[in-house]
Amino acid sequence: MLSRRSVRVRVWLLVLFLIAAFLISLWSGYQTLDLRLLAGDEATRTLLFTLRLPRVLMGAIVGASLALVGAALQALFRNPLAEPLTLGVSGGAGLGASLAFALGLGATIGGLPLIFIFAFVGAGLSVLLVYRLARTGTRQVAPGALLLAGVVINIIAASGVVLIQYLADYTRALQILRWTIGSLDIIGFGLLWRMLVFLVPGWLVLLYLARDLHLLAIDEETAASLGVDVRRTERFVYFAASLIVGTCVATGGTIGFVGLVVPHGVRLMFGEDVRRLLPLSMIAGAGFLMLADSIARTAFGTSELPVGAITALAGGPVFLWLLRRGQRYAEM
């Protein structure tokens, strides 16, 4: 275990990383920001405050959210490979959001919360389904079965999205297509506020449950004997995870592996304590996605990559590395 002092030093390093990521992300883009023009030039100000800053903040809150959910799901299922994408939660949310688009509920800004709710329901149904499929008679969840169930849910959900696109009219299909590619591109702060209404309650629930998740990550039965209400904790984590993932997917599309890469990075720095892991994953996740989005915006000059492609490129190898190390992580 780390001493309090070295924990504090590392927390400051993480905060520095967050600030650096924020500044880099703010500065980089199709048009790099010239700070000298900020005082006088109206166009530069508009660029910064209505385009760049909202997008950077969007990256920060989505990154923080996905990393938090990943860390919480890993603890709940005692599975290092669990995260919104691998458990099919993102897939379910995507299917729900597509359905909302196809029904025309995404056409107006005023209709946006309905997309959140559809995505939330989709995420919630898939997390319950995955859990049901993977659990055995004695309520123990088999780690391999959990991931397989998640993969299958993702495939089914993806097929559902394709079917909906096929059946929807042309403009809505195009809308869905643009959205599935995934982007953090937003204009103004209105959407951010709307998202926070859904995200903040989810964050608070998970952070409140940090100690219960810490005990559950070690062992379910001993956690129960120490006074953790396992059922209630499970229900609240499902609810919060669905709320968070639904909101993130509905606005930014599927951005995979943030919930995998970030918590494991934090573990390398801070150890296994879930009470630390949850809040610090939020900080690291915010920085990680802001950086990934900067790369997405600038790597290919004028054309922009979907940020999900960047996170998958970073996260896929980490997943495989963990899977290989999984021989050590007991029987997968």
Binding site: A224, G227, E272, D273
Partner: protein, 276 residues
């Protein structure tokens, strides 16, 4: 059970409740009709080491889970020092009862000290980390089971026997008055089994702890345990001192096996089966 009159505290102070008492407890796992525990009753007194023996599937582990509060009995009452489980909140219960599971499937490399420190959670605020005193208590618990050297090691790298010690230390760090151990000796070799018995005797003698221990190796019972409970088909059908229970006829009934033999030799009782 008989409830002591609650009016005069002077009066009730003369009535000593058993530490833990179960009366006519029934339990079936969800989705199943068959009761695994069918009217089990038992008492555990302060500072006594009690072994729970019985054939596979007789309901021992389930009964221990009920007593640890991991599962709720569907019928019957369980009382802790005269107070029903229904009225004790989970953390108060956790501060009195320490549970050690048969096996643990910790996949994340938590250090042994981190695991032992979770035993302090019934005493600490949900948003606080353990303080210096908690850490001292955890180290002390590890020392009590001769596992101080494991503190910084990660539990995923320990052998089954070492991990068992860490979980025993966690239960000790809980400063409970009763330990509930589910087959702690199952994964241990001869030497570690003997070591475990030594640790149990020591925590009884030095800390005044009571323990209910599910045991399969009946030859370990005689010099260590104060009392033995025999379980069959979800009920406690025999109870007594080792010399009372470890007899051919009693054991034959508990295990439904006429071939069980118990013989005293060298101040111990050795038990084996000649069935098959």
């Amino acid at each position: 059970m008989n409830h002591a009159p609650t009016s005069g505290t002077h009066h009730s102070s003369f009535i000593t409740h058993p530490l833990l008492q179960a009366h006519d407890v029934h339990f079936a796992y969800e989705g199943t009709k068959r009761e695994v525990v069918r009217g089990a009753s038992l008492e555990i007194q302060k500072g006594k080491l009690v072994a729970l023996i019985g054939a596979n599937g007789s309901g021992k582990s389930t009964l221990v889970r009920l007593l640890a509060g991991i599962r709720q009995a569907q019928r019957g009452t369980i009382t802790l020092e005269g107070q029903s489980f229904d009225v004790i909140d989970a953390r108060t219960r956790a501060a009195r009862l320490g549970y050690v599971p048969q096996t643990t499937n910790t996949v994340f490399p938590f250090t042994a000290l981190e695991v032992v420190l979770t035993g302090r959670s019934p005493y600490t605020n949900r948003f606080r980390f353990e303080n210096r005193r908690d850490i001292e208590i955890a180290h002390d618990a590890l020392r009590a089971v001769e596992a101080a050297h494991l503190a910084a090691r990660s539990v995923t790298e320990l052998s089954g026997g070492e991990r068992q010690l860490v979980y025993l230390a966690r239960a000790l760090a809980q400063q409970a008055s009763l330990l509930l151990l589910d087959e702690p000796a199952a994964a241990l070799d001869l030497k570690h089994r003997a070591g475990l018995m030594r640790h149990l005797r020591r925590v009884r003698d030095e800390r005044g702890l009571a323990a209910l221990v599910v045991m399969h190796d009946l030859s370990l019972l005689d010099p260590t345990f104060d009392e033995i409970l025999g379980m069959r088909d979800g009920r406690i059908i025999a109870r007594g001192t080792p010399s009372e229970v470890l007899r051919d006829a009693t054991l034959a009934e508990i295990f439904d096996d006429a071939g069980v033999r118990a013989r005293r030799f060298d101040n111990r009782t050795f038990v084996w089966s000649e069935a098959g």
